[in-house]
Amino acid sequence: MGIRIAVQPSIGQYGKIVEMLRCVRGVECIADVAAADGLITDDPVVLKQSDGSDQFALLLSPFQVDAGCLGDLAASEKVVPALHARSQPAVRQIKSEIDAGNLGQPGLLRSHDWDRSYALDDQRLAAHLDVAVWCFDQWPSVVYAVSRRDYVQMHLGFEGDGMAILDVDAGDSLGGSYQSLHLIGSRGAAYADDHENVQLAIDARGIEAVPTPQGDATLVNMLRAFYEVIRSGDSQQAEWRHVMEINRLVGAVHQSVAQQRPITLESSNG
C-alpha cells in the first residue's frame, strides 16, 4: 500500500494538487482526511485542531503564518513548511550542482523575478531569501535593500566571500513573467535564464519570443518532497526555525529600506 495523502478541499489549488499527486509514485490520493498519512492544507488552524495526531501535514504558505501560530508550528515535528521556491526545476538543478561540489564554494547568486501576476509581498521576498540561504547553506551577515513602487532589490552579504543580489519586479509594464538565477562558484557556475528557454514565433506581425512551458514540475517536485518526508519520518522542527529566520530576514529588508542603510544581522549560523 502506498502513502495515503488527502488534500483539504477548501484550498485554492485543490484540483491541480489532486491531479499532480497522481504523478508521484508511491502515493495514493484519498478523500478521507482522517485516514490519510499526510494532509495538504493552507490553513494552520486546521493543523492546530489535529495537533497530537500521527499525521504529517504540508502547509502551503508557511511565510504567511502569523507569529502566534508560528511558535506552535515550530514545536511540531510533523508539519512540513512548503518551501515552494526550492521546488522550481532550475533551482533544484543549481542546488544539486552545488551539493555535488561541481561549482565549488558559492560566491555570488544573482536572481531576477519579474512578474506582476503575484503580489510583491513578504511571502514573495521570503521565497527568494529562502533560495539564497539554501544555496549558500549559510545565513547572511548583512542585508541592504532598496525599494520603489512595485520593485525591491535585496543585496546580501555572507561571512567569507558570499554575496547575492535579488530583484523582484511586479510593475504594470510586465505583460509576461521573466525569471533568471545564476550562481557563480569557486570552481564553476550555473546559469538558469528564461532568456535561454524561449522559442521564436514568426508571423506577418513580426517575431515573438515564446517561453517553453515547464508544466507543473514545481508542484510535482514539492509533492515528491512531501512524500519523502512522510516516508522518512524526519522531524520538521529545524525547518520551522528556518522559516522564522527567513521572516526575520524579511524584517531586515524592510528595516534597510526604511532606514536606507545596510542592516547587520546577528549570526544565525550553526
Binding site: 560566491g107 532598496v146 532589490q153 566571500d161 558570499g162 554575496m163 521573466y178 533568471s180 532568456h195
Partner: protein, 366 residues
Amino acid sequence: MDESRRFRVLVLSVVKHAYIPEAVAAHRQFELVAVADQLGVPEWIHARNQDFAERFSIPYLSDITGAIKKYRPDVAVISSEAERHCELAVEAAKAGLHIIVDKPLSNQLHECDRLVNVVRAADVRTLVWNRNFMPALQQTLSAVHAGRIGKLRAIHCDFYFAKDAGPPKGSRSGNDPPINWLKRQIDSHADGSDGAVGIQPMGELEVEGIYPLAYIHALCGASIKSVFARTASHFHQAHVDHSIDDLATVTLEMEGGIVGSLCIGRIGAASHPDLGAIKLHLIGTEGSLVVHESRPEVASFYRGQPASEFPHRRVADQYEYLLMEEFAKAIETGSETSLDVTAGREICRIIDACLRSARSGSVIKL
C-alpha cells in the same frame, strides 16, 4: 576618392592591449607614425614598444617630447600600465594632441582630475576605450532612446570574464611567498589577460568596472547618487595575496529614482564556455529588455577543438571601427565622444566609492 582628413598617431606606450593601436591603425583616417615612451621605464616595456613598432614598421623613441617634435602627431593612443595613463595623457594634451586612452582611466582619482583640467585647457578631444558600440548595445540604446520601454526604472549589468588569473585561491602553501603581481601580469600578456598590468595591484572593479558603468552611462545618462558594494577574492591566489577583488556586487541608486546593480567577476575559464556572461537587464515604465551583449555570434564545434578556444564567436562586430569613426568626427567637428575623460573620471569616482563601500560596509553617497 576619399578626401577625409587623415590624422597622424603617436603610440604612447603599448605594454598592454595592442588591439587599441591596431584598431586605430585599421581606420582609414588614422596613420601610426611612431611609438614613444619615457626613457626611464623598465626594459620589458621598451621591448614591447619596440616589438610593436617593428610590426608596423614605424620608429620607436624613448623620448616623448622628441617624438612629438619630430613626427608632429595629431593624436596619442595610450595603452600603458593604468598607473601611467594620466601622466602620459597629460603630456600629450599639453602638446595639443587628441587622446585615446585604454581603460581604466587611472587608479588614482587625483590623476584623473589633473588630466581633465589639462584636457579642458588644451581643448582637445578624448576617448576612453569602451565597448558601447557593440551591436547588442547599439540595439539596446536605440530601443531605450526610441522610448520602447518608457522611462527607465532599473538597470542591471552582469559582467563576468571567464578568464583565469594564475593559480586558484588556496593553492599557495604556507612557505611560499605571495605572488608577484607585476611579474604575473607581465607573464599573462600572451593570452591578453594582463589588463591590470602595473606595480599597483588592481581588482576587477577597477579594471573592468568601466565597461558596465559605461553602458549605464550611455543607456540612462543619470548620475549615480549612492553605492553599496560587496567584494571578495574568491577565485585567484594573486587576488587573495594582494587583498583585491575578483568578484563584486554593487547596488546603485541614480537620479530620477532609478535603481541599478552590477555583478562583476573574473570567474575563471571553467565557469563559461566563451569570454563570459555579459548581460543587461532593463526595466522601464512601459516594458523591459533582457540583452546578451555577445550577440550576434556563431557557434562552432569540432574534433580536436582546443579547450582554450571559444566555441561561440562574435560576428558583425564593428565596435572598434565605430569608436574610431566617432573619434574622427569629434576631432573634425568638436563633438563629444561616447566616453571622454570627464566621463571616465566620473566612472573612476564611482569605482572608488564602491571600493570604499566594500571596505567600510556602508552606503557611500556621491
